[in-house]
Symmetry: C2
Subunit: 353 residues, 2 copies
């Protein structure tokens, strides 16, 4: 009688296709590990909803969703109908801010059966976590334009970082490093960005005093990006500001060839408001409706959700399941060189659970 209330928002395009497979696999895990998922589906955060209502979310979205234990999210965006900046700022980014999901967590892992772009790397060689600050920093809306329309036209945008905001993401990252028994790498640029980044470094050092057993190093973002390509095996947990984390959490999965199957967890660690779990890939209008999308990102996101809900064993089982199916290479979607359909790969993974 462990019961979790899950809000299901499939969104647009392949979001709806991979969501079915995600739910299939999670349902199987619930059966096997003896818990209940009480799901409720919502049609907002989609282009269809926007067409009908002229907005991405109902007015009471916050109240509607805030009672859930988690949000299981597909993909949003359909640029032919609604521009991306409207659909994203009007839904996904609302959730991240509104529910104070200040952690964005993205695993970077070389998977069996998924070809990566780097020479000489094997599954097991690359396995780390990017911990991104998800609510402040470089993503502020403070600033503006002056001398508009003239040669002196000037735009200004402020990066705002708070001790509260930095410390809570650092604490989370240090705890992850602790949990993994490993090291922490901090992304900085204090040699160039002269106010906010030295402050970030200061807080990293200060927080480190509470975690004396964790080894910490820091890299400037330019050389860190380079090291993701040259030495991805060096990393264990990487913590970064909102913008740097955004870059690193796409670059990391690119280095493992997993950008199409990587998950993203938007977490409010207090548990007072729901966290959101989504695949990194978008709605992919170009292949939507064909039933050939790869559901692994959605399923992997589901595993992160189970882990967050406290069902670590079930999470582990789901991860092992999709890794085993990928390794066997028998049921591969077209992006992995096979001819299996989205549904078939989902079913194979559910069975492996």
């Amino acid at each position: 009688n462990r019961t979790y209330r899950i809000a299901v928002i499939a969104g647009d395009g392949i979001g709806t296709e991979v969501m079915s497979e995600g739910l299939k696999v999670l349902g199987r895990a619930a059966e096997r590990f003896g818990f209940r998922l009480e799901t409720q589906e919502f049609d907002f955060a989609s282009a269809e909803y926007w067409t009908k209502h002229g907005r991405m979310l109902p007015e009471d979205w916050f109240e509607t969703l805030s009672g859930f234990d988690a949000i299981y999210f597909g993909a949003v965006g359909w640029p032919d109908v609604v521009p991306d900046h409207i659909s994203l700022w009007g839904s996904l980014l609302q959730f991240r801010r509104g529910f104070d999901q200040y952690v964005n967590l993205r695993p970077v892992k070389l998977l069996p059966g998924v070809p990566g772009p780097l020479r000489g790397r094997e599954p097991g060689d690359i396995d780390f976590l990017v911990v991104r600050e998800n609510t402040e920093g470089e993503y502020s809306s403070i600033g503006g334009k002056m001398f508009e329309g003239t040669d002196r036209e000037t735009v200004v945008q402020e990066t705002v970082m708070t001790r509260t905001g930095i410390d809570r993401i650092l604490r989370f990252a240090y705890e992850q490093a602790q949990r993994r028994g490993g090291r922490l790498t901090s992304a900085t640029k204090s040699n160039g960005i002269s106010i906010t980044m030295p402050y970030w470094d200061e807080r990293v050092a200060e927080m480190g005093e509470s975690f004396p057993e964790i080894e910490v190093d820091k890299f400037h973002i330019d050389i860190l990006a380079a090291q993701f390509v040259l030495h991805p095996d060096w990393f264990d947990v990487v913590v970064a500001s909102n913008l740097f984390g955004d870059i690193l959490s796409d670059l990391g999965p690119a280095c493992t060839g997993t950008i199409g199957v990587a998950p993203s967890a938007n977490i409010n660690p207090t548990g007072e408001l729901p966290s959101l779990f989504e695949p990194v890939h978008g709605s992919a209008p170009d292949i939507a409706g064909q039933g050939i999308a790869n559901p692994v990102g959605q399923i992997w996101a589901g595993a992160m959700m189970l882990d967050f809900l406290g069902e670590a064993q079930a999470a582990e089982a789901v991860t092992t399941a999709f890794e085993t199916v990928l390794e066997s290479g028998e049921t591969m979607t077209p992006d992995l060189g096979g001819s299996a359909r989205c549904e078939e790969l989902g079913t194979a993974i559910a069975q492996a659970v």
Copy 2:
């Protein structure tokens, strides 16, 4: 009787070792192509100078250097003696700002004989140029700290972009694309950074009207970083803001395995103040003094300097020379798996010119 006045600043560590080889190769090119390089060496911008004078540059550095046609720079930094942020902001970054070197140009090229980290890529597959804005944007010193020492502590740093600053770097980038007969890629993040980056996009579009024959695309920086790894063959000229350019111009050379031999040109295209040419690598205290540094970065930077001075043929000859020597694999420094000394590789390249 084409004569160019070159200020030579070797700096610290391996800077002094690779500089000798750079000058050797340039000297040979001058002989062959019939021009004169009038060089003058300076000992400032070095840890030794700092120890003697308590500053990185003499007070009259601007007057001393501004009459030269170009500055040929080695590497600065010796952290045991002077912290990096002092040595860099006190020298290299002074030059970039003081001489209004608003273009930072970095070639990304897969070279024969230099092993890269990406699977299945051959010399010829990857050959593009990163054009970085070098004087404004995210590298501003405007901002500060409030509520110091309390839980409400907040730091703010402003990104400042001007129409003048953006337009001049875009014009340069479009012209490079024109010169290479190719395409232009703009690095943006207008889906997340909501004021400065949409303005950047606007200027890219506006400038594009003066270059109707150039095909332009834009990528958000997160996915662009990913594409550098996944599809480096897509790019021809990539233009980016100061911070994004900093990241991309380390990431690019990482993807080609050339981070140890890549050059960087800091250009003031007006020619009214000197431009500066340097290898990307630093002073490398760990191998300094052993005579085993790889001089190709310094030599490649020299080729860019010749090109800038209008000696395109000589520049081409120097580039061909080091590519040929690398391809033969006969004279390789330890970083490339050989046992040649810095001096031997320099001499081999000079002979090939």
